[in-house]
C-alpha cells in the first residue's frame, strides 16, 4: 500500500494505492484520483510547459505545452529540445511547435496566440 497526494485538482486527495490488488485506489474524491493513483505508481506522466523564442511578436517568448502528458522521466530531455527553436509571429494558440517529441506521440503546441507586433509590420 502506497500513500500519494493526488495532483488532479487543488483539493489534493490523499490516495491509498494497493499494489497487490491491481493498484486499486481508495481515498479519491473523484475518478481523476483513481486514474492518477494507478498511473503514478506504474508510469508517472506530466504535462510539460515552457517557452520558446519568438520573433516579430510584442514579447520575446512564446509559451508552449505538451498536448498530452509525457513520462515524468523524460521532462528534462524534452526541455532541451526547446533550446534552439525560434518561431516567427503570428502564432495561433494550438499551433504545433514540435511534433512527436522523443517518440512519445506528444507535440509541443503554442499555449498563447501572439500576433505580429505593430512596429515589426513596418520593417
Amino acid at each position: 500500500m502506497t500513500e500519494l497526494i493526488c495532483i488532479g485538482c487543488p483539493k489534493g486527495c490523499l490516495l491509498h494505492v494497493d499494489e497487490e490488488n491491481d493498484h486499486a485506489v481508495t481515498g479519491n474524491g473523484c475518478k481523476v484520483g483513481a486514474t492518477y493513483g494507478k498511473k503514478e505508481l506504474q508510469n508517472p506522466t506530466r504535462t510539460l510547459t515552457s517557452t520558446v523564442c519568438i520573433r516579430g511578436a510584442e514579447i520575446p517568448r512564446l509559451p508552449v505545452k505538451t498536448d498530452r502528458e509525457i513520462p515524468k522521466a523524460l521532462l528534462l530531455d524534452a526541455m532541451s529540445l526547446l533550446d534552439n527553436i525560434v518561431v516567427q509571429a503570428p502564432i495561433i494558440l494550438g499551433d504545433v511547435i514540435l511534433q512527436n517529441l522523443l517518440d512519445t506521440g506528444a507535440n509541443f503546441v503554442a499555449s498563447r496566440s501572439l500576433g505580429l507586433h505593430e512596429e515589426e509590420k513596418h520593417d
Binding site: 497526494i5 493526488c6 523564442c53 498563447r112
Partner: protein, 422 residues
C-alpha cells in the same frame, strides 16, 4: 471619449476584469468599458505558463495564457469596449473616473457602476525586513516569473526560495526545468502556504527540500548574492541560534504573500477590511460606497482562478443591475469567531439573496476533521464538516436564505473547531 458615459466601467483586464466585463454585458449593461494599464489583456495569467487552471470552470486543465485567451476571445464578440494602456488615476464617489492613455491623453469618464479588478501585488523584502546586504539576485517570485516566462531571462543558477506560496513552488519547478538548481524552500510557518498539489508536483517531483519552520536570517554578497543564512525558528518564530547555517546561492526568490492593490479604493474612501486587505464587501460584491464593486484578488487573495472568475461574474452582474437608491436597508454583519481569518462577504443584505449566499473564508491554522459553525446570539444556525482546512486553502460554505433570515440582531459569528461537535 472624453466625459463619455458607460453603464459599467471595469478597472483591470486580468481574469477578474475579463469575467466582470463579460458578465456585466450578459446581464444587460449596454455600454461596458474595460480599462487595462498593460499593453494586452490577461493580467498575471500571461506569465503563469504552467497548467492547472480551469478545472472547475472549463472542466479541463489549461495553462494561464490559454485560460486568459478563452475570455479574451469571448470579449471580442461581446460588444465590450476595451482600452489597453490606460492607467486609472482616480475613482470618485460619484462613479466618475479619470485615466491617462499614451495616445488619447487624459480621459474623464462617468459610469453607472464601477467594478474594481486591480488584482494584487507581491510582498517584498522590505515588507518582511530580511537583514543583509543589497546585492543583485533578489526577486519576488512573480517578478522572476515575468523575467523568465515573458522576457526570456534566466534569473539565476542556484536559488533559495523563501516562503512556500504557490508562485514560489511553481518557480522552484520552473527554475529546475531551466537547469538551475534550487537548494530549498524555506517556510516560516509549520505548514506550507501553497496548495498541497504544488508541493507534490513542483517540489517532490524534483526532489527539492521544503524546510518548514525556517527563515532567512541574512543575505550576503557584494555585487551578486553569494550566500544566505537560514535558521530554524521556535514557536515564537525566533531563529534558534544553534541551527543557523549558510547556504551558498546566487539567487533568492521571495514568495511571502500577496497584497490586494487598493490605492484607488483607499483614495475614493472605501472601507477596507484589514484582514483581507481589500474593500469590505456585501453579498453582491458591492463596496461601502454605492455602485462601486470589487472582485478577484483586489478584494481578497484567491488560490484558484476559477473562484476569481465566479466572484467577478457576480460583481459584473451586480454592477449591470445596479440602480442607485434601490439598495436594501437591512444589513447583517458576518463576524469572525475562533479560528476564522476572514470572510467574504463581510456583510449580507438578506433582501438581495435569491436562494443562498456563498461565504468564502480562510482559517488561521491547519484543522483536521473540522466543524464550522454559524451562530447568532445563543443559537447555532448551521454546521458544516470539513476533513481538512488549511490557511493556504480558501474554503466556502453555502448559506441558504432561510438560515440567513434566522440571524438575530443583524450579527452572526462564523467559527471553526477541531473535531466533531455533538
Amino acid at each position: 471619449m472624453n466625459r463619455a458615459y458607460y453603464d459599467v466601467i471595469v478597472v483591470g483586464g486580468g481574469p477578474a476584469g475579463l469575467a466582470a466585463a463579460l458578465s456585466a454585458r450578459e446581464h444587460g449593461a449596454a455600454r461596458v468599458l474595460l480599462l487595462e494599464r498593460n499593453a494586452s489583456l490577461g493580467g498575471i495569467l500571461n506569465q503563469c505558463i504552467h497548467s492547472g487552471f480551469g478545472l472547475h470552470h472549463f472542466q479541463e486543465e489549461l495553462t494561464g495564457p490559454e485560460y486568459a485567451e478563452r475570455f479574451i476571445r469571448q470579449l471580442s464578440g461581446s460588444g465590450v469596449e476595451v482600452l489597453c494602456g490606460a492607467m486609472v488615476l482616480e475613482v470618485r464617489p460619484d462613479r466618475s473616473l479619470c485615466a491617462i492613455h499614451p495616445q488619447r491623453g487624459y480621459l474623464q469618464l462617468r459610469a453607472g457602476a464601477v467594478v474594481l479588478a486591480m488584482g494584487c501585488r507581491e510582498r517584498t523584502r522590505g515588507a518582511i525586513g530580511i537583514p543583509g546586504t543589497r546585492p543583485a539576485g533578489i526577486f519576488t517570485a512573480g517578478a522572476a516569473q515575468l523575467y523568465m516566462n515573458i522576457e526570456g531571462y534566466q534569473v539565476g543558477r542556484r536559488a533559495v526560495i523563501l516562503g512556500s506560496g504557490d508562485i514560489g513552488l511553481i518557480m522552484a519547478r520552473r527554475l529546475t526545468l531551466e537547469s538551475a538548481s534550487v537548494e530549498g524552500v524555506y517556510e516560516l510557518m509549520p505548514y506550507s502556504g501553497g496548495l498541497v498539489r504544488n508541493i507534490v508536483q513542483c517540489l517532490h517531483d524534483f526532489e527539492i527540500p521544503l524546510h518548514l519552520s525556517h527563515t532567512l536570517t541574512d543575505i550576503r554578497g557584494d555585487k551578486r548574492v553569494e550566500e544566505v543564512e537560514v535558521a530554524q525558528v521556535d514557536a515564537d518564530f525566533q531563529p534558534i541560534e544553534a541551527t543557523r547555517r549558510a547556504v551558498p546561492c546566487d539567487t533568492v526568490l521571495l514568495s511571502v504573500g500577496l497584497i490586494p492593490e487598493n490605492e484607488l479604493s483607499r483614495a475614493v474612501g472605501l472601507e477596507i477590511d484589514p484582514r483581507t486587505g481589500g474593500p469590505v464587501l456585501y453579498e453582491n460584491r458591492e463596496c461601502s460606497l454605492p455602485g462601486i464593486f470589487a472582485a478577484g484578488n483586489v478584494a481578497h487573495v484567491h488560490d484558484i482562478v476559477d473562484f476569481v472568475t465566479s466572484e467577478s461574474q457576480l460583481a459584473g452582474r451586480s454592477a449591470a443591475l445596479f440602480v442607485p437608491e434601490k439598495n436594501p436597508r437591512r444589513c447583517l454583519h458576518l463576524q469572525n469567531g475562533e479560528g476564522i481569518g476572514y470572510t467574504v462577504p463581510q456583510r449580507i443584505r438578506p433582501e438581495n439573496i435569491e436562494n443562498n449566499v456563498e461565504v468564502f473564508f480562510r482559517v488561521k491554522k491547519v484543522y483536521k476533521n473540522a466543524t464550522i459553525g454559524l451562530s447568532s446570539g445563543d443559537t447555532l444556525l448551521a454546521q458544516y464538516r470539513r476533513e481538512r482546512l488549511a490557511p493556504g486553502e480558501m474554503e466556502k460554505i453555502t448559506l441558504p436564505r432561510k438560515i440567513v433570515e434566522k440571524i438575530e440582531l443583524n450579527k452572526a459569528i462564523l467559527s471553526v473547531k477541531e473535531g466533531i461537535s455533538p
